[in-house]
């Protein structure tokens, strides 16, 4: 029963979603939205599980003085701080337990939660994202090292696309006559992106879609059960 009930729900809900995709008439047209709302409600309750896990793992590491335990402490303090200011004075238009904190708002220019979000969270998040630029450079360097015929081709294509997207590339081949405009670097770059690149991407997307159909069918029919924890 413990195993059969989730399998029945998976079968029933899976079938319902597929049918709803093709039938615009009520009640089918409302099914997907309703199921999504149910998922959101369950997710809302599950957040508590996440918070408990967060506290447990961080407190254990602080207690055991693991390497870098002060970072876990900083994480916990930040979490509690955001929780308190959010609960006390709310966020944006929503008030908290102590109203809107008008005095604090006058001092900070905005609510304490929004202040921390704007001037602590956002810069930290942007810093993490900006690391991407450096990682792209190091990954590109490795990808473009010429070792074989294929990597040679990759390097050549990359040079054309990179140059074609800059004004320098445009300047380099700007003198070409009208009959040879295809070889003008921006045009060549557009051609590579529009045809060979799109074709390869679409092939991956079509195969992934087929994989999704197969995977979904296995789950709906109960052949694939390992996501439930056990395959028996």
């Amino acid at each position: 029963m413990k195993r059969n009930l989730p399998l029945f729900f998976a079968f029933f809900c899976g079938l319902l979603v597929i049918v709803s995709e093709f039938i615009p008439h009520r009640p089918f047209s409302l099914m997907i939205d309703t199921l999504q709302e149910w998922f959101m409600i369950i997710s809302g309750f599950a957040i508590i599980l996440g918070q408990i896990s967060l506290f447990q793992s961080n407190i254990n590491k602080i207690k055991q003085k693991d390497s870098g335990w002060m970072f876990y402490l900083a994480g916990l303090i930040s979490f509690i701080l955001m929780l308190i200011v959010g609960m006390f004075w709310g966020t944006q238009e929503t008030g908290g337990l102590f109203g809107h904190g008008t005095a604090l708002q006058a001092r900070l220019g905005m609510k304490p939660f929004d202040y921390l979000f704007e001037f602590a969270y956002m810069p930290l998040s942007s810093t993490m994202f900006s690391l991407l630029a450096f990682f792209i450079a190091s990954a590109a360097y490795r990808a473009f090292i010429i070792r074989s015929f294929e990597s040679n081709l990759l390097m050549l294509t990359a040079v054309i696309v990179i140059l074609g997207r800059t004004s320098f590339g445009s300047m380099l081949t700007g003198w070409l006559p009208q009959g040879l405009r295809f070889w003008h670097l921006p045009n060549l770059s557009d051609f590579i992106m529009e045809y060979p690149n799109s074709a390869a991407q679409r092939a991956i997307m079509i195969s992934a879609a087929l994989g999704i159909i197969g995977s979904s069918l296995r789950i709906i029919l109960g052949i694939e059960r390992s996501y439930l924890g056990s395959d028996k």
Partner: protein, 366 residues
């Protein structure tokens, strides 16, 4: 005589034009969920105002502008409720302003006709998968090509065991409603069994609470299955944060501090893919990645030792379990690919010949 008839005909046409200076037609949009009406009009006026009566019968303007292209689609309506429309054709200085009224009811239909091609393909591919599963049940053995990214799992676990370092498994940044996350969890089940057999520590940081509870259940069952429930450490499968870059920062910290010997990035990934893979590369770990996000695959290919591309992620569970039924379903995928190739070739040929209905049918044009 002929001249007289022609003159009379021309006179009648001109008279008809003047006698009916404007018409409006309101029709239900066919094969939809009953939330839209198509309004078309004919008027010699240059600009029009289109109004709809609200629940109190007061006319509310929904469109105001040039009379052409003489069509408007009113959306987000309530199904099976009658709607009245009023068209005001604004005449020039020497002509009168004309008002035409019409009403109609949007009706819910029982089928999205523009999805017919999608349904046909879905049915054919699903039938093929079911037939291959049935044949596998009857004992037929199928050849499945080798997927090096999945064959490497043993190597990665072995290396982690030799070095006495943990294995890091990242189930992507999607929630449990993402099929890629489900596929990732099925691979986690196989990986957890192997790590339990070798007594190698497994770290699973999760972005969502639902994924956390599912991952815990999957790993716990895997440890039970190999008879090592005592080796299961619940605290090593933990929640980090819902925030995308906060999650990446947390995982990067784990990679740098704990130096896992093997990293698995399987599931749904977006802008964080390269940050994760490059940090893992810098720690010298053996890395296996897999996603169906075509735009993230190049980053993984560059920075990881093995990459599961697109459908390989979804085939992983079947491939690793070696369950004949699941392997049979993989043959169904191959049939789907063959069908797609045939349809693409047929599409190219019919477009060259000039039979545009074939392309239109698959584009879902009604």
């Amino acid at each position: 005589m002929k001249g007289l008839l022609l003159t009379t005909l021309l006179f009648l046409i001109v008279l008809a034009c003047y006698a009916s200076p404007g018409t409006m037609n309101v029709q239900d949009v066919p094969w939809d969920e009953g939330k839209a009406l198509n309004i078309t009009w004919q008027t010699p006026a240059d600009s029009i105002i289109l109004q709809r009566a609200d629940s109190l019968g007061v006319w509310q303007t929904i469109f105001s502008g040039p009379a052409l292209p003489a069509a408007y689609s009113d959306r987000d309506l309530i199904p099976n409720k009658s709607y009245s429309y009023q068209l005001i054709a604004i005449g020039s200085a020497d002509t009168d302003t004309l008002i035409v009224r019409a009403s109609a009811k949007p009706r819910e239909q029982w089928f999205y006709m523009h999805k017919l091609s999608f349904l046909i393909i879905l049915v054919i591919v699903s039938l093929a998968i079911l037939i291959y599963i049935q044949r596998a049940r009857m004992g037929k053995e199928f050849y499945i090509r080798r997927i090096s990214g999945l064959d490497s799992m043993e190597e990665a676990v072995g290396r982690a065991t030799e070095k006495g370092k943990p294995i890091l498994f990242v189930p992507g940044i999607g929630d449990l409603d993402d099929i890629q996350t489900i596929a990732s969890l099925t691979i986690l089940s196989q990986l957890a069994q192997r790590s339990a057999e070798y007594d190698t520590e497994l770290i699973v940081p999760c972005r969502f609470s639902m994924v956390l509870s599912a991952a815990r259940e999957v790993v716990k069952e895997a440890y039970l299955k190999v008879g090592k429930p005592d080796s299961y450490k619940e605290e090593r499968i933990f929640y980090l944060t819902d925030d995308q870059f906060g999650y990446v920062a947390g995982i990067d910290g784990i990679m740098v501090r704990e130096q896992p010997a093997a990293n698995f990035f399987l599931g749904s990934f977006y802008a964080e893919s390269l940050i994760l893979a490059e940090t893992g590369f810098s720690t010298g770990a053996i890395q296996t990645s897999g996603t169906a996000q075509a735009s993230q695959l190049p980053f993984f290919v560059v920075s990881c030792d093995y990459t599961l591309i697109g459908e390989e992620l979804f085939a992983a569970s079947a491939y690793l379990s070696r369950d004949p039924q699941q392997l049979g379903s993989l043959k169904g995928h191959d049939f789907g690919k063959l069908l797609t190739i045939i349809l693409i070739l047929a599409g190219v040929i019919t477009e060259i010949v000039g039979w545009h209905w074939f392309k239109a049918f698959f584009e879902g044009v009604q």
